[in-house]
């Protein structure tokens, strides 16, 4: 799938010759995980990708999936799949000298449920369940990406009201998510007051989701070919009022974090990802923007209501933990502003219009709170032939491993939380 500067996606297909296709990792290093996954799940071999280490396949020995590390007395620390807090399952193998991380091999896919394979053969409408259930934190993003891909394949285009409904849902998802992420960074430094303050705000944001749609994670709000979400003027205006209160309280909490020196000391120059590396590794979302890379799918989303959207980037832009935290705050303010205008009047049920040719293969891209999420759907009539969900978290996991290198092991939880990626929608 190729994306133009205007956000238009073009799909190119390559037929394997005797199960082998040419690798593109030399051209696009970010395709590393995709090729390894395609090999493990579908047996595709990639010419020129050496060594093609296992990614999803867990049956092989440690040496097969880790990078050999040399140094003075290097040793390994194995963490997970079960972690010490309420954290999703995944395994991290640190290669250390003393306390310094030389290299990190992240081994995920403990939560691999085979959702994409299970979706094959089901109806296009039913397929929505599989992508939405891939991840609660990105349920709306994944659902909208899938719905847009299917609508593209069916030659449908969203009406302005449908675009508005989906944009509102996506921004509501971003608000609770970013509040959660700020809380998580506080937890990563042991600042309990900040953790609880922002956890309380995340709770309020989820309560608002439930009031507006009947579900705290906005489950069941996305469907193909339309939207059933309906808000009368009164509910839209009370939602605006609650969001205005959340905005004021988040700003007050944020000021406390900004002026807390001992908190600040933990964030600066930790887990650095520079712009050059962010681009090379395919970093996406807040992680990329915090490194000064101005990419945001929202700026090129004609199917959503982001007219005139300009991405914000942290003024630090140094790609450390502090930049990623600041980035969340900036985007939170932006989301509050977007929602203020999206909720300016009643929202009515809406639908799509037929306006284009039908296709068997289509793709769509939506900006999740963690980065650009791509969904590709191949269909046979009204059945799913194949579906692939490449989420913002999936794109950023190799960047987390890169960011850890050169830091102290005890800083890893903080670095990890400054990305706050989902395991569920990477593993699927």
């Amino acid at each position: 799938v190729l994306a133009g500067d205007d956000g238009e996606l073009r799909t190119e297909t390559v037929e394997p010759v005797a199960g082998v296709v040419p690798s593109i990792v030399g051209l696009v290093p970010a395709a590393d995980w995709d090729e390894r996954e395609a090999h493990d799940l579908y047996g595709v071999r990639f010419e020129g990708h050496e060594p093609l280490r296992p990614l999803v396949d867990h049956d092989l020995n440690v040496a097969s999936w880790t990078v050999p590390v040399e140094g003075r007395d290097p040793y390994q620390v194995a963490v997970g799949p079960i972690h010490a807090g309420v954290i999703e399952s995944g395994h991290f193998r640190f290669h250390l000298v003393g306390e310094k991380i030389l290299h990190l091999d992240a081994r995920l896919f403990y939560k691999h449920r085979g959702l994409e394979r299970a979706a094959e053969g089901s109806s296009l409408g039913h397929g929505l369940r599989y992508v939405s259930r891939a991840c609660a934190a990105c349920a709306v993003t994944n659902g909208v990406a899938y719905a847009q891909a299917v609508e593209e394949a069916l030659g449908q285009r969203a009406s302005a009201e449908l675009a508005r409904a989906r944009t509102m849902l996506l921004e509501l998802e971003r608000v609770w998510s970013h509040l959660n992420d700020i809380s998580a960074v506080c937890a990563g430094t042991g600042l309990a007051a900040g953790t609880q303050r922002f956890a309380g705000l995340a709770e309020r944001a989820r309560q608002l989701n439930a009031q507006l749609t009947g579900h705290r994670f906005l489950f069941g709000t996305v469907r193909i070919g339309g939207s059933d979400v309906e808000l009368d003027a009164g509910r839209a205006s009370s939602a605006r009022e609650e969001l205005a209160r959340l905005r004021v309280e988040a700003a007050s909490g944020w000021r406390e974090l900004v002026f807390n020196r001992s908190f600040d000391d933990r964030l600066v120059d930790v887990g650095i990802v520079r712009a050059r590396d962010a681009r090379r590794l395919g970093a996406s979302g807040p992680a990329a923007r915090a490194a000064g890379v101005e990419v945001d799918t929202r700026a090129t989303s004609p199917r959503l209501q982001y007219d005139g959207f300009v991405p914000v980037t942290s003024s630090r832009g140094t790609g450390d933990v502090k930049s990623r935290l600041e980035q969340r705050h900036l985007e939170l303010v932006q989301s509050f502003e977007l929602l203020e205008s999206l909720l300016s009047g009643p929202l009515r049920p809406s639908s799509t219009e037929n306006d284009g040719p039908e296709r068997a293969l289509a793709a769509a891209r939506v900006e999740s709170p963690r980065g650009a999420t791509l969904c590709v759907v191949e269909r046979a009539g009204d059945r799913i032939e194949r579906v692939r969900l490449r989420t913002g978290s999936y794109a950023n996991w190799p960047v987390v491993a890169f960011a850890a290198s050169g830091n102290m092991l005890p800083d890893f939880p903080l670095i990890n939380k400054s990305f706050e990626l989902c395991y569920a929608c990477a593993d699927r």
Binding site: P81, I82, V86, Y110, A136, G200, E256, Y423
Partner: protein, 154 residues
């Protein structure tokens, strides 16, 4: 910092959550066996000021060695079956297992059969089932309280 604490104190006053009439505790170890992370996000907020699980003496502990309850989420993937059994084996007696969310309970499992073992009770004896997709922080707190109260029966 003082403002943060002041805001939290005010929130506590406003919410006026009832004081617990219990004098015991429950140590919970969470294990994710393939959830969509909804249960994790709600479990984290069960410790927020709005549900405040800690006021009942219920806490999330870092190791199964310290745990009274294993709180399991997800439909148990083939890859998490082993780690789940290892965590259970590490727990001291008496030990309890709680299935958190519809996947773990087994009412609404989605995925390829060859990647999933099935609901938690296929792997371990389950003492408590907390349905919901996902269960709210308050539902999680209420269910764990039920378990805390029933510990006399152990």
């Amino acid at each position: 910092m003082l403002t943060l604490l002041r805001d939290l104190r005010r929130l506590r006053r406003e919410l006026a959550l009832p004081r617990p009439d219990r004098g015991r505790s429950l140590a919970v170890r969470h294990v994710d066996c393939g959830s969509c992370n909804g249960c994790e996000h709600e479990l984290i907020l069960a410790s927020s000021p709005y549900a405040d699980l800690q006021r009942f003496g219920i806490g999330i502990v870092a190791s199964p060695r310290h745990a009274d309850v294993l709180l399991v989420t997800g439909p148990v993937t083939t890859r998490m079956r082993g780690p789940l059994l290892t965590a259970y084996a590490a727990m001291p007696e008496p030990r309890r297992v709680a299935a958190l969310g519809d996947c773990a309970v087994g009412t609404d499992i989605l995925g390829s059969p060859d990647e999933l073992v099935g609901p938690v009770d296929v792997v371990l004896p389950v003492d408590l089932r907390i349905p919901g997709c996902p269960p709210t922080p308050n539902a999680i707190a209420a269910a764990l309280l039920e378990l805390l109260d029933s510990r006399d029966a152990v």
